[in-house]
């Protein structure tokens, strides 16, 4: 930690690098975008763009990572070439492995693939809850939405995942 208690990006890379990369990978769904997202997060940390409040360092990193991810996906969505369907309840196409993946033998790659195809807001809520283990209240603060919205996004995200994998 630096004198002000703010972790340096070197400390984050050294002590929380695997955690940070995992969050980025679960959100983006591929290694290239995950690496770019991690670099953006560390750049924000290095430039002091994110206020650090002493507490859970991984919670702080989760917030920066998730919001950086959502900001970028919204920016992409505004570009005509990357327009996504607006209906959040749109049905996911079947996973490539869905027909062979039973409930008992669903592989991490299948789950990750289904996760990647969730609408971003649902994906972020599910990742924050089930990958990172944040409470609904914390997720609401991170995403700046009411707890009721968090509950809805998590539930719909899980329901879509289940549908995509069976």
């Amino acid at each position: 930690m630096s004198g002000s208690g703010v972790p340096t990006w070197e400390e984050i890379a050294r002590d929380h690098g695997r955690f940070l990369y995992t969050v980025a990978y679960r959100l983006t769904g591929n290694s290239d975008d995950a690496q770019d997202l991690v670099q953006d997060v560390l750049l924000k940390v290095r430039k002091g763009l994110e206020t650090y409040r002493p507490g859970s360092l991984e919670g702080w990193l989760s917030r920066i990572t998730t919001n950086t991810f959502l900001d970028e996906t919204r920016r992409r969505r505004r570009r005509p070439v990357d327009v996504l369907p607006e209906d959040p309840d749109r049905v996911l196409p079947p996973s490539p492995g869905a027909d062979v993946a039973s409930a008992a033998e669903t592989l991490p790659d299948h789950v990750q693939d289904a996760l990647r195809r969730l609408p971003e807001e649902y994906r972020a809520a599910v990742v924050l809850c089930d990958v990172i283990g944040r409470s609904y209240e914390e997720i609401g603060e991170i995403l700046d939405v009411p707890v009721g919205t968090v509950r809805s996004r998590i539930h719909r995200g899980r329901a879509l995942l289940r549908k995509a994998l069976t």
Binding site: Y25, A34, Q39, S135, S152, H155, R162
Partner: protein, 159 residues
């Protein structure tokens, strides 16, 4: 999936909907949790939906930590945290890879230079070029090492 939200009192005509995931996560206030459990006792539809979202929840929670690519953070550390602003989504994959490759090459150069004395002036022409030139002009022979020796170890006979 029903999105009919549940209040603290789950009536016979309503389904639990979003409250099912909150129930699994222990995020329902006690009165609502009691109401939800009472509702489940008489609603096969909600029991089925509960099992479905519980399965998805367990799948995601079972996902392992992901190792970053070998040397990913080390390259950034060598770069002294100078990643291009807006890297995520703003740069092409090819561009980022080229950047990291350049960083890797720079890191290798730093490592090599670090072995020698910092006071040594750069040699010009570079040793590899001398070796290459010597190998080209040397007589034909099978002993590559002896052909290269004069270029690597200059020897002076007499003054």
């Amino acid at each position: 999936m029903s999105s009919r939200a549940a209040g603290s009192d789950f009536g016979a005509s309503a389904h639990l909907g979003d409250a099912l995931s909150a129930l699994l996560d222990g995020e329902l206030p006690p009165p609502m949790e009691r109401g939800a459990r009472a509702h489940l006792a008489g609603c096969p539809e909600c029991v089925q939906e509960l099992a479905a979202v519980d399965q998805a929840r367990r799948w995601v929670r079972a996902l392992p930590l992901v190792e970053p690519p070998f040397g990913f953070y080390e390259r950034m550390l060598l770069e002294r945290a100078q990643p291009t602003a807006g890297a995520f989504g703003a740069r092409s994959t090819l561009g980022r890879r080229a950047g990291l490759a350049a960083l890797g090459a720079a890191a290798a150069a730093v490592t090599v230079l670090g072995v020698g004395s910092p006071s040594q002036a750069p040699v010009s022409p570079a040793v590899p070029r001398l070796i290459e030139a010597h190998a080209t002009s040397a007589s034909v022979g099978a002993d590559l090492l002896s052909k290269l020796a004069p270029a690597g170890v200059p020897v002076s006979f007499g003054r």
